[in-house]
């Protein structure tokens, strides 16, 4: 046996694979980032050189194998566009001012990706060289992307999806943390290692490996059709047959996500409790504390960094999941947000919009529309930033705790 397995040739291979994996992650991350930023930018004006015809300036709407669709202008709120067969196209380049002017009477259209409302389309030259104006249009585009109301056709701003995702993850956290930490505490402090607890740990480990869509199915069968149906019969009989809780909604979706992240939280918090030095427990008991006083006074505070780690991992896992949500409440378009300014402020039964679902929707249903794919990238970026913000808060809190607790410990 090699006494230093981390030094052997095998580990060099593993190390290499890890580096490759990391590089892959970075590559994907960067491309999402770049794609996202590009997706938010206004469409650049292009000049297409054509065989046997004068050049055209316009916005590239769609590129297909056989043809290009070029948006060339706007007439009284109506879009003018041309389909150009591939064999006609000589080259695509930055437009010359003369061409742009001749083509659209001094003004050409730039569509902000998220408002299709013709009155609000902005007419501008995005490539006219004045970077400040370009920045302004980029800002308009960003503002529309973030704040424009969602639309039933899947277009529109992402604010509703952002709110939906945020509320969902928050609710999931509230559900999973107390329960998961309690189970972790039980396993670490009370359960010992009997055959039953070994079995329990094994089951928990296996639960983490179940594909997430299966959780979604369980949620649909058990929560939506089972519990939801029962709740409707007891409390919302007046509204039947239209379902209140017996259809997908925020509550069921967050419950499914809580179930999904439970094994993770249990395992990580159990490890956290186990790492608390035994001396602390004994010191507390020797001062006359009872077991529960020791748990609340010493164990939980000492395990806080680990609990925050569990929180971070749970958030990251939960915000990455789309598949189970498709079954239990995420929708393409929700007329109302799941939160409101009037009581009850939180509407647990409402279906909601979700960034991940929006990415999926934009990337698949728009038929290869380049604009939609770029918007999907922008949505993915927004999702990443949301996760980063949520995790950033937790990581910051943990760093502070670590600094206070562990920096100078012996």
């Amino acid at each position: 046996m090699n006494p230093y397995p981390w030094r052997g040739p095998l580990s060099r291979l593993t190390g290499g694979l890890l580096v490759l994996l990391l590089a892959g992650f970075l590559l994907v991350g960067m491309s999402v980032l770049l794609g996202g930023v590009a997706g938010l930018a206004p469409r650049p004006l292009l000049q297409v050189e054509l065989r046997d015809q004068p050049p055209l300036a316009g916005l590239l709407l769609q590129t297909e194998v056989t043809h290009l669709d070029l948006l060339t202008g706007i007439d009284a709120g109506r879009v003018r566009w041309q389909r150009l067969p591939r064999e006609q196209v000589m080259s695509i380049s930055e437009p010359t001012a003369a061409c742009a002017a001749s083509n659209a009477e001094g003004e050409l259209l730039v569509q902000s990706p998220c408002t299709a409302d013709p009155q609000r389309w902005q007419l501008a030259f995005p490539n006219d060289g004045r970077w400040l104006a370009g920045l302004g249009r980029w800002y308009d585009s960003l503002r529309n992307f973030l704040l424009a109301p969602a639309r039933a056709d899947g277009q529109g701003g992402i604010s509703a999806a952002l709110v939906g995702t945020f509320v969902l993850v928050l609710l999931m956290t509230l559900l999973v943390l107390p329960f998961g930490v309690a189970v972790g505490l039980y396993l670490a402090e009370f359960a010992g290692t009997t055959r039953h607890t070994r079995w329990l740990r094994q089951v928990l480990a296996q639960l983490a490996a179940i594909p997430s869509v299966v959780y979604g199915l369980v949620g649909l069968g058990l929560f939506v059709h089972g519990f939801g149906h029962q709740i409707d019969q007891w409390f919302h009989a007046d509204r039947l047959p239209s379902p209140t809780y017996a259809s997908g909604g925020l509550l069921w979706a967050s419950l499914v996500l809580a179930l999904l992240t439970l094994p993770l939280v249990v395992v990580v918090s159990e490890q956290g409790f186990r790492r608390v030095p035994g001396g602390l427990r004994e010191a507390s008991l020797a001062l006359g504390a009872t077991r529960s006083e020791t748990i609340f006074g010493v164990l939980l505070p000492a395990a806080r960094p680990a609990l925050l780690t569990a929180l971070i991992l749970a958030i990251a896992r939960a915000s990455a999941e789309v598949a189970p949500l498709l079954l239990v409440g995420a929708v393409r378009y929700a007329a109302q947000l799941p939160i409101s300014t009037e009581a009850p402020f939180l509407h647990l039964e409402r279906p909601f919009m979700h960034l991940g679902y929006r990415v999926l929707d934009l990337a698949t249903s728009a038929g290869g529309h380049t604009l939609a794919v770029q918007q999907a990238f922008a949505c993915a970026l927004a999702l990443l930033l949301l996760v980063l913000a949520l995790n950033g808060a937790a990581i910051y809190a943990r760093a502070i705790l670590r600094l206070r607790h562990e920096k100078l410990s012996p």
């Binding site: 010992g192 030095p277 001396g279 602390l280 427990r281 004994e282 010191a283 507390s284 008991l285 020797a286 001062l287 006359g288 504390a289 009872t290 006083e293 006074g297 010493v298 505070p301 000492a302 806080r304 206070r404 607790h405 562990e406 920096k407 100078l408 410990s409 012996p410």
Partner: protein, 261 residues
């Protein structure tokens, strides 16, 4: 009873054991220990590693109950009252018998919260009263001047020696009668060790102190009485002067002169 053992004192005992034995699983850790700790004195327990000193100490405040399979026989009497009796609930017993461990083990949290931890468990008191108790406890371990401006700092930021005195202050804050010190200086440097020893000498006017140590010189320096434990039995127990200058048993002499252990 072994031949070298004799009750060296007629002083009233704050804490005493009667035929105390401890068994963990099938292993007999302690047996037949009869010893009394006179009030306001320091008794040192010496003996080679693994002879059961720490286990004995843990029997006194019932910390052995944390060990799975541990079984205590015989009696431990605190002011004549059996520590197992229902008239002495466990939290109250452990308040009256304070303990300091081998390694400093401050809780995560501030210096103030560490000292206040035990007090908050046992009584409700106003912030003002609590501050006074904490200050008094820190004074009595000579830590007040060093940490008075750092009460809100993390306890782990203190040096090891300070941490050990902080832990001692934490034990003192709940006003115990007996202090069990389990090799309190073994992880400290010589200067911190000296401070702890000085402290022990100061504190014995107010507390009954049981000191476990495998440092024979330390026992000779600070203890009024010394007991020699060997292989789970109490071999010799006498006034320190007597035991160190004129031990009755060959084993004791071998140990204190460093021939084994």
């Amino acid at each position: 009873m072994s031949e070298g053992e004799a009750a060296p004192t007629a002083q009233p005992a704050a804490l005493q054991t009667v035929d105390l034995g401890l068994q963990i699983g099938r292993r007999r850790v302690l047996q037949g220990i009869d010893i009394a700790f006179p009030s306001n004195s320091v008794t040192a327990l010496i003996g080679p590693s693994g002879c059961g000193k720490t286990s004995f100490l843990r029997c006194l405040n019932r910390l052995t109950e944390l060990w799975p399979g541990a079984q205590v026989t015989g009696q431990v009497l605190l002011q004549g009252m059996d520590v197992d009796s229902s008239r002495l609930p466990l939290p109250e017993l452990r308040r009256r018998i304070g303990m300091v461990f081998q390694r400093p083990n401050p809780f995560p949290g501030s210096v103030f919260d560490n000292v206040a931890y035990g007090v908050r468990l046992h009584r409700r008191c106003q912030r003002q009263a609590l501050e006074e108790i904490v200050e008094a406890a820190l004074h009595s371990v000579g830590l007040w001047e060093e940490v008075r401006d750092r009460l809100d700092e993390e306890a782990l930021a203190l040096s090891l020696g300070q941490q050990q005195r902080l832990v001692l202050a934490r034990a003192l804050a709940v006003e115990p009668e007996v202090l069990l010190l389990d090799e309190p200086a073994s992880s400290l440097d010589p200067i911190s060790t000296l401070r702890i020893e000085t402290l022990i000498a100061e504190l014995k006017s107010r507390y009954t102190i049981v000191l476990v140590t495998h440092n024979v010189q330390q026992a000779a320096r600070v203890a009024d009485y010394t007991a020699f434990l060997y292989d789970g039995r109490l071999l010799e127990w006498d006034e320190s002067v007597q035991l160190f200058t004129n031990p009755r048993l060959q084993e004791t002499e071998d140990y204190i002169t460093g021939r084994y252990g």
